[in-house]
Subunit: 97 residues, 2 copies
């Protein structure tokens, strides 16, 4: 148990984080595309969460130097590893909450 569990559980317990990761499990997305799938979340909140997830190396941000610039977010291997974890939390939540 211990610090690694606590850190992982804390990350997953932050509002919107599970949902953002879930959206990105569908493949790389632009900011606007993520927003469209979670309309209740503010732009600022999504920006903050994406920065956190990038800092934790769960999400990778790629800038494509086109005109206009295209920015895409995608899950790293670490982020993809969260799929079974999120599904297991969700299964339990749906059965018991």
């Amino acid at each position: 148990m211990c610090p690694k569990y606590e850190a992982a559980a804390e990350l997953l317990g932050k509002k919107w984080t599970g949902l953002i990761i879930r959206v990105l499990l569908g493949g790389p997305k632009r900011f606007k595309e993520i927003k469209e799938q979670i309309p209740e979340m503010s732009d600022k909140m999504l920006t903050d969460r994406m920065k956190e997830l990038e800092t934790m190396n769960v999400v990778k941000r790629t800038v494509y130097p086109e005109m206009p610039v295209r920015i895409e977010y995608e899950l790293t291997s670490k982020g993809q590893g969260l799929e079974p974890v999120i599904l297991s939390i969700q299964d339990w939540g749906e059965e018991w909450m």
Copy 2:
């Protein structure tokens, strides 16, 4: 996704909660026995967490009218259902955090 996921993830993200549930997966325990397995946690914190877990019906508290009174805490079915969830968070945490 949604409120049920968020509520489940928030519960699991609270400090000590995962560890307390883990200890109780070993069977019913008295307050003192839980404390012995998590010595860094204060009495007040354990009391608060146990009340939360009881309110959420994750833990059941039974008072045995002996002399002196014996009080035991055990996981409900809802609480036992958290075993695979906690293991999955922990596996990911150990691999990636």
